[in-house]
């Protein structure tokens, strides 16, 4: 009862500094866990997102740009693929499935992507998972001005079955660039937690023949999404298109190309990590400073305890326990701060890319970081605990007569 009571009363007595210090620790722990999880889990989510395809064939240019454009629906298309080239890859014996896509228009900032119905009927966007339409919807007809909306885009734009819209030219929303054609929504896709949720899908011909688009390119596509029969096929096609040919780019494998991107921006992760570590150190320092500063006011209490029979190790333990409790309180609040921060970041990433990070998923950093922060605070408590240990009893409780 003694030690908990001493610690509890001391924390109560210095409630304001306890709260401020624990708040600093919470911020540091929350930041650390969030930076760590966003880094690890976003990297995993991006490198594992392939929409069910092994490779992408596109115009000559950057493989990363091609993947970002065709799989993540970000970035501009590097150019067009001629219909003959798209047909050639579709007929290639090593290709299991080839889905052409065409981009170039938007609906109030959400991308319109032209494709073929096979995407929704024949492709698993993740192992064992096919696109599903919400009740009451149907796929667009390939020769009609119809559309199927991804769940997130539909929710944000207020689209439902029967909604009619006019596309806007270009990938960025410009109210003055409205097309004359009207499209009717025939279905809303159930959430897939992939970038497809942010897309409004049209028939390929719908995009290709939109008024204002170059009639010479009316049969071209932006890219062809490919499923290969064997992994070795990817290396052979890579040789064919990237090394021997010079008109098209074959991006394979999709995950490795995204991993390259994260490799290039890893310096940014390290900067964030460093900032978080510094914040953690400052927080531990603040525990030291907070308890140390209150020591002069508390030395009399500690001397009284010693005069009552408390041993040096008891007062040492009490101060150390206090620092540890402040650390633990801060770490617990840090978990709450982390989940709030992470939910915000995950929402932002989802809104921008369609990639979903799950805030409630378990990650070992959620255990290790609070433990490390608590241990760091306990370390910060050693200096004031030593001061408590050395408190001269007789000098402190009463002047020597």
């Amino acid at each position: 009862m003694t030690l908990p009571l001493i610690v509890y009363r001391s924390l109560r007595q210095h409630a304001l500094s306890t709260l401020i210090t624990a708040g600093g620790i919470a911020l540091a722990a929350g930041l650390l866990m969030t930076v760590w999880r966003v880094k690890v889990e976003s990297q995993a989510a991006f490198t594992q997102t392939s929409a069910g395809f092994d490779a992408v064939l596109g115009a000559r240019g950057s493989k990363l740009q091609l993947v970002l454009n065709a799989i993540f629906h970000l970035e501009a298309s590097p150019g067009n693929v001629a219909a003959a080239d798209a047909e050639a890859i579709r007929r290639h014996p090593m290709v299991k499935a080839a889905i052409p896509i065409a981009v170039g228009d938007n609906l109030r900032g959400f991308r319109l992507v032209g494709t073929v119905p096979d995407l929704f009927t024949g492709v698993e966007y993740a192992p064992g998972r096919k696109y599903v339409l919400e009740a009451g919807g149907r796929l667009f007809a390939a020769d009609q001005r119809e559309a199927v909306a991804g769940s997130f885009a539909a929710q944000r734009l207020g689209l439902r079955v029967g909604s009619v819209f006019r596309p806007f030219h270009g990938l960025n929303f410009d109210p003055k660039a409205e097309h004359a054609e009207e499209f009717t929504v025939t279905g809303i896709l159930a959430p897939t937690n992939t970038p497809a949720d942010r897309v409004i899908w049209l028939p390929l011909r719908g995009i290709q023949t939109m008024a204002g688009h170059d009639p010479k390119a009316a049969t071209d596509v932006s890219a062809v999404l490919l499923q290969l029969r064997t992994p070795t096929a990817g290396f052979m096609l890579d040789m064919l298109y990237n090394k021997q040919g010079n008109r098209l780019t074959f991006a394979f494998p999709v995950g490795a190309i995204m991993a390259e991107l994260f490799g290039k921006i890893s310096w940014f992760d390290r900067v964030l990590e460093l900032v978080a570590y510094l914040v953690a150190l400052v927080a531990a320092g603040s525990v030291l400073a907070s308890i140390y500063n209150s020591m002069s006011a508390r030395q009399r209490d500690l001397a009284i305890l010693r005069a009552l029979g408390a041993r040096r190790r008891t007062v040492f333990g009490a101060v150390l326990a206090e620092a540890t409790v402040i650390g633990a309180l801060g770490a617990a609040a840090g978990l709450a701060a982390h989940f709030a921060l992470y939910a915000g970041v995950a929402g932002l990433i989802r809104a921008q890319t369609g990639v979903v990070l799950t805030p409630w998923a378990f990650h070992q950093v959620l255990v290790l970081c609070p433990l490390a922060m608590t241990a760091l605070c306990a370390l910060g408590g050693i200096v004031p605990a030593v001061k408590a240990y050395r408190t001269p009893v007789a000098e402190t409780i009463a002047p020597v007569s």
Binding site: T2, R9, R306, A307, L308, A310, I397, S401
Partner: protein
Amino acid sequence: MLAVQQLSKSFVGPDGARVPVVSVPEFQLAAGEQLALRGESGSGKTTFLHLIAGILAADAGRVEIDGVEMTALGEPARDRLRAEKLGYIFQTFNLLQGFSVLENVLLGMSFGPRGADRAHARAVLERVGLGHRLGHFPRQLSTGQQQRVAVARALANRPRLVLADEPTGNLDARHAGEALALIREVCREQGAALLLVSHDEGVLTQFTLRQDFGRLNQAVREVPR
């Protein structure tokens, strides 16, 4: 109960020289006895009590409490002996301001062999007339009530010896008389010996057994005043 032999203590003065403060050749107190030591301010009587309590380490000499030679013990053992055998009433009460009345008494008990016995702590506080103030904090009490908490805390562990350092120094005459009577009564009830130091003649005359600390402490004679 208490036996002191050749006990001495000196401190380093501002000029770096050692200044003797306590030098007591011999002093004894029997079990259950109540004795008052007369001493002026600066006579070394607080230091003498600190040496007996083991709060200060002596330069030389012996202090024996209830058959145990305190001066031969290491610091942890001295702490344990103090918690087991001694009760200390300070002039300024030295209550822990962040703790309630009951917690002050419980904390005093918790370092002793019996541990924090809540029922006994309540009983002792009721005995000193504070049964209705258990949850109050020292700042919410009058000076006289604070003194009674200090008495309860010193006696809650059923000590064999109670040391009282100017215990009524902060009280007016009426409250001082009441407090002194209470301390003596409770010590008597529990069979604890009482060693009280004071410069107040009003207090000292209450005791049958009195000694002049100025005569007892030879160090005082050596210090130029």
